[in-house]
Amino acid sequence: MIKNLDQIFLLFEHWIVSFLPVAWRPMGAIILSVLAIISIFPALFALTTVFERKGLGRIQNRIGPNRVGPLGIFQPIADGIKSLTKEDIVPTSADGVVHFLAPIVQVLAVFMGFAVLPMGRNMVLADMDAGLLFYFSMGASTELSVFMAGWSSRNKYSLLGAMRAVAQMISYEVTLLLSAVPVVMIAGSLSLTKIVAAQNYYTHGLPHWYIFTPWGLAGFVLYAIATTAETNRSPFDLPEGESELVAGYHTEYSGFKFALFFLGEYLAMFSISGMGATLFFGGWAAPFPFLEWIPSWIWFFSKLMLSIFVFIWLRGTLPRLRQDQLMNFAWKFILPLCLLNVLVTALWHFLGVGWERWVFCSLILALAYVLMGLGGMRGMKVGPRRYRYAE
């Protein structure tokens, strides 16, 4: 019974596919899986928008959406209908074809990333040998769509936003890739199912997730910073800084094209959170052996939603960075730490099992963090803030 619940989606798929003629079955199974992905994640997106607006409202001491349905739960439906019925405005000077293609390219590239994510036991659409590489190459192609949107709009705010976004995404993509490298080094594979399998065992009832190692913890923190920047979320949301750029690269988009950009942004958040869970938090694995009766897909989606909650929390808490702070942070602090983390992971591997590697690796990383932090702060005048109220 528990086993069936764990594999319920696969059993359901087999049951539907069994109605098809034998020759069509493999194709039918693939189409069903794709349909599941492209219906579940947008549904999750709709829920998350309410969740986010409610959460932000709570953080900012207000109520949030509460008009449509009980507690405002039907707000995304109203938003969806609104964006579908709104006029689709394309500026007269805009580059029509590129302007039209940009949101499609973005959503397409983001959806491709879900193909390699293992969302539960045996629940992966394409179990590729180079799954991680596929995922990051799809993530890299979204940058182009951002540029296409900003350039084709023929609007200075759009272009500035796109330039900021592209510069930021390229800078943080380096750290994103490098923060995932230690996991590949230890797991010895780029296949995501193998990375999950490498973490999915227990000693003394404790899991072997990579987050519970010095290099894993450092790698995860670096990964989390890089993903926040990569998805243009606050505090790295300069590309759409409302106070300066109206809405950044999608200023000139209206109606459903704007909704597509919005969707793409949130889907990127989901997939990159899922990737973080897969790399550092054991993917669909349960935290303790006695909790293994809970289906694997529930674990995966709870980890994903927990990370979405942290994203929302950060957005409600942290102020926006400045452009030079953003770049200096990426190239002078995060990147050296990432490179060091790769070396520390090699040290961890070659020191062998024992307590020494825990001490050495933790010490090196902590020392590097403290020293680089102090070095970066030197010469900066950090003191109590002086407020000037309309002097």
Binding site: D95, V98, M128, D129, A130, L133, F134, F136, S137, M138, G139, A140, S141, E143, L144, F147, M148, W151, M163, V166, I170, E173, S189, L190
Partner: protein, 166 residues
């Protein structure tokens, strides 16, 4: 030779042709990315996952963006009024045709020297990694040093004349 091959071949050729023939430079750059994507599909069609994904990540993700940045930052990025061809196009076409003929000749010649019907097996990423860090470790290191030197050189060029860091 299957449908996937023809689709990606047409995509590559159409993208490459468009990148030469279009008027607007940014359109050319975007068409070039279409050609890169087609090329990646061709690699994937040959079961070369690493080469295919690396093609997308490096060329579509990074090189295309750099090309576009360069176009936007240099002068004269406006669309020319009269045609996209420069006056020296016959020379360029001759050189391109010459190189194409040479490469085509080399490929056709080498085909007769290869053993027929060798089974193509997929090379895993694991094997590529093993080859890179064991057998070809020296070339890899040389390439790494070259890239590092290029990076440092770029930073030095970007520095202010009087040595102030910015």
């Amino acid at each position: 030779m299957n449908i996937a091959f023809y689709v990606s071949a047409v995509l590559t050729l159409a993208g490459a042709l468009a990148s030469v023939l279009l008027k607007n430079k940014v359109h050319c750059a975007l068409a070039l990315t279409v050609a890169f994507t087609g090329l990646a599909f061709l690699f994937l069609n040959l079961n070369a996952q690493f080469a295919g994904f690396a093609e997308i990540m490096v060329y579509v993700g990074a090189v295309a963006i750099l090309v576009v940045f360069a176009i936007l930052l240099i002068k004269g990025s406006e669309t020319p009024l009269h045609g996209a061809f420069s006056r020296s196009w016959p020379i360029g076409a001759t050189i391109a045709a010459g190189i194409f003929a040479l490469l085509g000749w080399a490929v056709i010649e080498s085909a007769s020297h290869l053993p027929k019907n060798t089974p193509t097996h997929a090379v895993t990423v694991d094997q590529i990694g093993q080859a890179l860090v064991y057998r070809y470790v020296l070339p890899l290191e040389v390439v790494a040093i070259l890239l590092t030197v290029a990076l440092i050189g770029a930073v030095i060029i970007a520095l202010h004349e009087d040595g102030r860091t910015q």
